[in-house]
């Protein structure tokens, strides 16, 4: 086991080095793709904190993402010159509050009940986003302008160009994903895995199952809202597409396709999804047909996800795929 550690470090350094140099090596179109992959990675990792690590299938995980996206868009729109860091902090905090509200009504339940109920809340928010036209512009959506990043010493850094957007996103996403990884290793983060394996015994050991689930759910929503905020920051546009049914399926697909048993799986899944979707939509406008087929093939023939092609499957009983 110890022998693999240097490889890991080498791999991580290689990827980080590539990511740091990418804007100078690749054309602008590719940089856009990498930004999108990074944002979706953060979202998929936060989803997998619940799904892979916690055994909770939050089918309506588009809810915190969409809340974050709309909150960022509305803040950018109505408070011109608002600080970028402040906006993203507020957005993430709002995601946490959303998580507390939805979670307090849903984490008591398990399996399909939990899945459908979180989804119901997402659809509730979707209905508001769709119908509250005067604020959200419904299906049409509305555009916003990225504010500049004000740095303590260097003054204002314009975000009009894609390169600063890239580095800003990279910094936030790497920090957030690292924080998620460390959170999983804390006693609290670990206790959700305990509750996943068995939710009858932990109360006898003094664990509060409800509070554990609620806390982890809210933390995941915090991260998802941050991803949603970054998504709007990058695209400078928001519409109901950030909170509709497809977006929930996309995050689920990213986690499954990459491999939900490993922390890095969803990141691989996000990269796969963004690249394939981009490639397919340049080939055919029937890409829904191909995407649907990919869903089916993954379910039937690629149970451990893409990451299982690189790493042999764990021997011990790992994360079940939902279960009954």
């Amino acid at each position: 086991m110890n022998r693999t550690v240097p490889y890991w470090i080498a791999g991580a350094a290689l990827i980080l080095g590539f990511l740091l140099l990418a804007p100078h090596l690749l054309p602008e179109m590719k940089i856009h793709l990498i930004i999108e992959i990074m944002i979706f990675s953060l979202w998929a990792v936060s989803f997998n904190l619940l799904f892979g690590h916690g055994g909770l299938l939050a089918f309506g995980f588009g809810a915190p993402f969409g809340v974050g996206a709309y909150a960022a868009a509305l803040l950018f729109q109505h408070f011109a010159g608002i600080s970028l860091v402040l906006t993203l902090s507020l957005v993430a905090l709002l995601g946490f509050v959303t998580g507390v509200i939805i979670g307090s009504l849903s984490v008591r339940l398990k399996g399909a009940y939990f899945a459908l109920i979180t989804f119901g809340f997402q659809m509730f928010l979707y209905a508001i986003a769709l119908k509250w036209y005067s604020v959200t512009k419904g299906d049409d959506g509305f555009g916003v302008t990225r504010p500049a990043l004000s740095l303590p010493l260097a003054g204002n850094l314009s975000m009009a160009n894609v390169v600063p957007v890239y580095y800003f996103t990279l910094a936030i996403v790497v920090l957030a994903i690292l924080a998620t990884y460390l959170f999983q290793k804390t006693p609290l983060g670990n206790s959700i895995a305990l509750v996943r394996e068995n939710d009858v015994r932990p109360p006898f050991l003094g664990y509060n199952v409800y509070l554990t689930r609620l806390t982890v759910f809210s933390v995941a929503c915090f991260l998802a809202a941050l991803a949603g905020g970054l998504f709007v920051f990058f695209n400078e546009f928001v519409s109901t597409a950030v909170i509709d049914m497809n977006i929930s399926m996309i995050v689920l697909l990213m986690a499954i396709i990459g491999g939900s048993e490993y922390f890095l799986g969803p990141i691989l899944g996000a990269a796969f999804y963004v690249l394939v979707q981009n490639w397919l939509s340049s080939l055919t406008n029937r890409w829904f047909l191909v995407m649907g087929a990919i869903f089916i093939v993954v379910v039937l023939y690629l149970e451990g996800g893409l990451i299982s092609l690189f790493i042999p499957k764990k021997d011990q009983p790992g994360v079940s795929m939902g279960g009954k």
Binding site: F59, K131, L252, I256, G292, I296
Partner: protein
Amino acid sequence: MGIWEIYLTTAMHGLVYGMLIFLVASGLTLVLGMAGVLNIAHAALYMLGAYFAYTFTHSTGSFWLSLILSPVIVALVAVLIERFLLRKTYAKGHVPQILLTFGLLYMISEIVRMVWGTNPLRVFEPPLLSGEIPFLGGTYPVYRLFIIGFSILILIGMLLFLMRTRVGLVIRAAVHDADMVGALGTNVPFYLFVVYAGGAILAAVAGVIAAPMLSIFSGMGDQILLDCFVVIIVGGFGSLLGAFVAALLVGELQSFGVLWIPQLALVFEFLLMAVVLAIRPTGLFGEEA
């Protein structure tokens, strides 16, 4: 037209839509109760029912023939899906089922767009059922009355089948506890297959009878899917009575919502769901989770 006539008409519209939702949701909730399978592609069967109704009505000239042919073809499609795809996921849990059936919904919607185009289509009601007749002081479209009557007939048929036959008895027992029924030597997968095919037929029938009333378009599956989700959550998983009550509630909420506050009609539906969940997390008629 006085205010009460408007209310009565609105209530009737709500009843019509509620019955349609019930026809689609009943198969979904029974399969969910028996096997824990959340079949998202079920909504695609409703959509296929409507599209086949268009094709058959225009090629044979008979709406009644399409009311028979379309559900048969859709049931065939559904059975093939169950046999070759869905069945492989029963042991794998919810996530693969949701992904697989959602992938199917994507594919069927795209195939529908390829075959029938993207423009909304229309089927006209048979001459026998066109026009309006006097109804409780006002007038009401005959076709909508036909939908209500026809779905009540189906409902009675379903009740007789579930309550009075041996197959129905086993199905009800399996919804309650499929493992125990299986342990007693009953071939549960076979009964699941029956329910699955029956549910497909009902969804397709709903699609056919909805076709002359609503326009046929490739997003109609997504629309009814959301309503069905609300219905099975509010009614409780696996509960047919719950699905019926919830479907009528959702139908009326939508109908009166459109009358009173059109912008919030969709929001009301999900508000109802949130309220029910807060009070009874397992739905109005659901068993304890």
